[in-house]
């Protein structure tokens, strides 16, 4: 396990990083209109800070928790900050991703006179980063909520930075509204946890043991509140709207890190503050998570906007994470520490992986967006020839997110499935029944994500360009390139060195489940979560052998035969008039999923008649939940409003009558 002594307490380092980010943001306000300032100085500095934060977090993973009280906040309740293993892990994630995204932003931000001035965006960006860091180190309810809502507000401003488009405004509104509702529910969760003691510091909540009833209320409130931010079904509606609306670096940050802060909050409340999860909480989390996973991936498969597709895929991954977390709770609830450790490790591992490949893909879409100013899959294609760097990095990202060995996505799914395979040991009949179904759902989601990624990559980067102007597309600049490469290599490394990652995760699992994985065997080359005889996996060996075999095949073909190749127009079964419109469109590629999972969608569209001279085909697959859940609520509110406004009809004698009636009623009431 990694242990590098820090000269100072980890929490101070984290707070310093947050302060530095805020300072950078404020510095941008010195010259809000100057692009050069942000590009030359602030974003690079931000990247450095992110790197430093990552180092600090890595260093304090092994170290004992460090706490600090700031002279801010409410009189009785100053800001408590504390950095324990869990915070350290998520801070590591934040720092690494933030560094890459900041580097990318240096190359990404352009002069845009219409949207918000660059200085303002820089401010919001860095405040966003800082608030996420503060969320992760906050150690009392008030500090946590302040950081949490600041995060929501700053990201809202980032999402709406180009607010001239109505749909972007709508997306931002939906986002901030749901975020606020979630925040209120989190607030109430803390209110339930402090149980009338009036002490809102997490320390106090840790110490006092709420009654099971209150604890369950708190858990459900937390699941709802953090679930909104994480985007689990049915609270996900804001996510596919907001992520595409935001500038790509922001989408990357939101998807890669912000969703994880919600996971962090859920873990913090359940495993740490409450401390004694009940097993049925795990069942709920499991069910919700799997539902989100399937929902997300199914909807991702039918999207025709590349950023929406990635947003839905985020819902899927978060679903898997929540499912893994539910499994952790299940094991904890039945007191199986070792298995809980396994599930927790898988969950955290997947958080890390998702942070890497999802930010990689979002940044890649950002480069595509800049090169082609096109987001719709229907007008892209063949970019692997125009922008090879982006294309190859994106290939790694896609393979990783599809959960293919030997990349990182596979490792976490492998661990997760292992955890599932161990559930038959549970002392609860119905849960045992649940397991095969759950495992099947996970497998199905994984396979479908492969489908989605083939669609995404194939339509964007392969085939023929669907528009003429894609020929002018240029590859990403050096800054963007370097950050893409960094993230891609991150995906590879996380995939090839699982034992190191698991070692880094040990302190977390040790603190929250009392067990570690490496204690159960393995070694540096193999990972064997339970025991080597039961299951083991060595990405390195695996990849090496595969590479050797591929190379051997190639070389021997070269050796025994020849390497001659002739270029010619595509054959296409001899059909001579091939053009780009003959390829599958994004909708076409989604068709099988629409057919197979028809009931999940609310499909409407029209097909052209056979002898239509200019045939047009339109089909939209919408989210049923929108019509089942959200619109009815809105209508109900409308109705109540209409009812209430009867109070204000403008006639003065009626008003007088109100106060008269009130008076008389009260006079009766007291007699």
């Amino acid at each position: 396990m990694i242990d590098m002594g820090l000269p100072f307490a980890g929490v101070d380092g984290a707070l310093a990083a947050a302060a530095a980010w805020i300072a950078l943001g404020l510095a941008a306000m010195a010259a809000p209109a100057s692009l050069a300032l942000c590009r030359r100085a602030l974003y690079p500095a931000g990247a450095v800070v992110g790197l430093a934060l990552a180092v600090v977090a890595l260093g304090s993973l092994g170290a004992p928790p460090s706490a600090r009280v700031l002279p801010l906040g409410l009189p009785e309740l100053p800001f408590h900050a504390r950095l324990d293993e869990l915070s350290a892990f998520f801070l590591l994630l934040l720092g690494a991703v933030a560094a890459c995204v900041s580097v990318y932003s240096v190359g990404y931000i352009r002069k845009d006179d219409a949207g918000a001035p660059p200085g303002l965006q820089c401010l919001c960006y860095h405040v966003f980063l800082a608030s996420m860091a503060l969320v992760l180190v906050a150690d009392d309810a008030y500090f946590f909520m302040v950081a949490w809502e600041t995060m929501a507000l700053s990201s809202y401003f980032l999402v709406t930075s180009d607010h001239r488009h109505a749909e972007i405004r709508r997306a931002g509104y939906l986002y901030i509204l749901l975020a606020h509702l979630g925040a209120i529910s989190i607030l109430l969760c803390f209110g339930a946890l402090q149980a009338g003691s009036g002490n809102y510091s997490f320390e106090a909540m840790r110490n006092l043991q709420p009654a099971a009833g209150w604890a369950s209320v708190a858990f459900l409130l937390a699941l709802a509140g953090f679930g909104v931010k994480a985007g689990i079904v049915p609270l996900h509606v804001w996510l596919p709207e907001a992520h595409p609306a935001a500038p790509s670096p922001v989408s990357a940050l939101m998807s890669a890190v912000m969703l994880k802060t919600a996971v962090y909050g859920l873990m913090r409340v359940t495993l740490d503050l409450i401390g004694f999860p009940l097993w049925w909480w795990g069942v709920i989390a499991l069910a919700v998570g799997l539902a989100s996973a399937l929902f997300g991936v199914i909807f991702a498969a039918v999207q025709s906007d590349m950023k929406r597709l990635l947003a839905y895929s985020s819902i899927e991954n978060i679903g898997l994470i929540v499912a893994g977390f539910g499994l952790t709770l299940l094991f904890r609830g039945f007191g199986m520490g070792g298995l809980a450790a396994l599930a927790l490790a898988a969950t955290l591992y997947h958080c890390l992986n998702h942070a890497f490949f999802k930010s990689l893909l979002f940044l890649a879409t950002g480069s595509v967006l800049h090169a082609t100013s096109e987001r719709s899959l229907g007008r892209l294609g063949g970019l692997i020839h125009r922008m090879p760097w982006v294309a190859w990095c994106a290939l790694i990202g896609s393979a990783a997110i599809a959960g293919l060995p030997p990349l990182n996505g596979f490792v976490s799914e492998w661990l997760l499935l292992q955890a599932f395979l161990l559930t038959p040991g549970l002392p609860q009949g119905y849960v045992n029944m649940l397991v095969p179904v759950a495992a099947a759902a996970v497998a199905l989601a994984a396979a479908l994500s492969g489908y989605v990624m083939v669609k995404f990559y194939g339509v964007v980067f392969l085939g023929q360009p669907r528009e003429a102007r894609l020929a002018e597309a240029h590859d990403a600049g050096p800054w963007e390139r370097s950050s893409l490469v960094a993230l891609a290599s991150g995906c590879v490394l996380l995939g090839l060195a699982p034992s190191a990652v698991l070692a880094a995760l040990e302190p977390v699992t040790l603190r929250f489940t009392g067990y570690t994985l490496s204690a159960l065997g393995g070694g540096w080359l193999f990972i064997a979560p339970i025991d080597p005889d039961r299951a083991s996996y060595s990405a390195l060996l695996f990849a090496a052998v595969a590479a050797v075999l591929v190379l051997a095949a190639w070389l021997s073909v070269r050796a025994f035969y020849h390497g001659r190749a002739r270029r010619a127009p595509p054959w296409d079964c001899g059909y001579p008039w091939l053009n780009a419109r003959m390829q599958d469109s994004a909708e076409g590629f989604g068709q099988p999923v629409k057919v197979v999972f028809g009931p999940a969608f609310r499909i409407e569209g029209e097909a052209p008649s056979p002898r239509d001279p200019r045939p047009r085909y339109r089909e939209t697959a919408e989210d049923r939940l929108w019509y089942w859940l959200y619109l009815p609520v809105a209508r109900a509110v409308e109705r109540v409003t209409a009812l209430v406004s009867v109070l204000q009809r403008g006639r003065i004698s009626v008003y007088l009558m109100y106060s008269f009636a009130t008076l008389l009623a009260l006079l009766f009431f007291i007699r």
Binding site: G381, G382, I384, A399, G403, L404, P405, F410, L417, L421, P424, N432, V435, P436, A439, A443, A446, A447, G450, Y451, M453, V454, G458, L462, G463, Q464, F526, P532, D533, R534, A535, S536, Y537, S538, L541, F542, V545, A546, L549, V550, A553, F560, Y561, R564, A565, R566, A568, P569, P570, W571, D572, C573, L578, M582, D584, G588, F589, Q591, P592, V593
Partner: protein, 315 residues
Amino acid sequence: MSASGFIAQLTELLIAVVLAPLLTGWVNQCRAWLQNRSAPGLLQPYRMLAKLFEKEVVLADNASPLFRAAPYLVFGCLALAAAIVPTLGTDLPLNPAADAIALVGLLALARFFIALAGMDIGTAFGSLGARREMMVGFLAEPALLMVLFTASLISHSTSLTTIVETLAHREFVIYPSMAFAGVAFTMVSLAENARIPVDNPATHLELTMIHEAMVLEYSGRHLAMIEWAASLKLFVYSCIGLALFLPFGVAAGGDWLGLVLAAPALVAKLAVGGAALALIEMLSAKMRIFRAPEFLGTAFMLAVLAMLVHVLLEK
């Protein structure tokens, strides 16, 4: 790893790579007999491979490096898969490196690349084939995984060799779950190997073809690699089937005699299996492409059912 293990591993790999086309040939021959046609020679696949290797490659103008790399990647993946599955002995050094889940992942990796290669040229057929292949994949892959899970629930391990040892070398027990799993596995392997009733390797009808549509643009050595990979895939699936359902005769760790005896046993089992496959193909009719999801959905459900049955009856 012991020397014997290493040798066993190597021989397994070589046998797989060498024998795979033979299996394909054998299946075709059986089918021809059943359709009482005069069959092509047993070695026909080898001849075809040799011919293709000799021919020069004709590449589409806009073929990307991915297109050229894909055949080798696919071949490598399937070769590795063949190496993982215990066919002769169970003392394999590669075994701890990759278990059943990794095996499925490996097959998925191969599918991923072949599908991307199919989309690379941007022809109507290519993307159509890729789409259908992935459609088959996203139902077949989890089904296969569930089948393997059933086995690993029985043997409390996902490592293939442990599974085989459990099934082969303990006293014989009847596992009802394995019956479900067997049916599911058969359906999956039919679909995965582009066999009737899901696909028909013999035709190039755009209405029906899946696998062939993806590889239409390939020629020469690339096509050869892909064909070889296809027969390797058939071989791998047959071996998985044998390992799960007829694991008898596989040598336990490191006894040379066992290894020597295992080889003929394997050949015999493959012969039977191939014949059975041909028979199934004979008896069933090609189904419409959108019936395929139902077919595979059934397989998936059966596999899940198998797990449930295990949890219910065999605890």
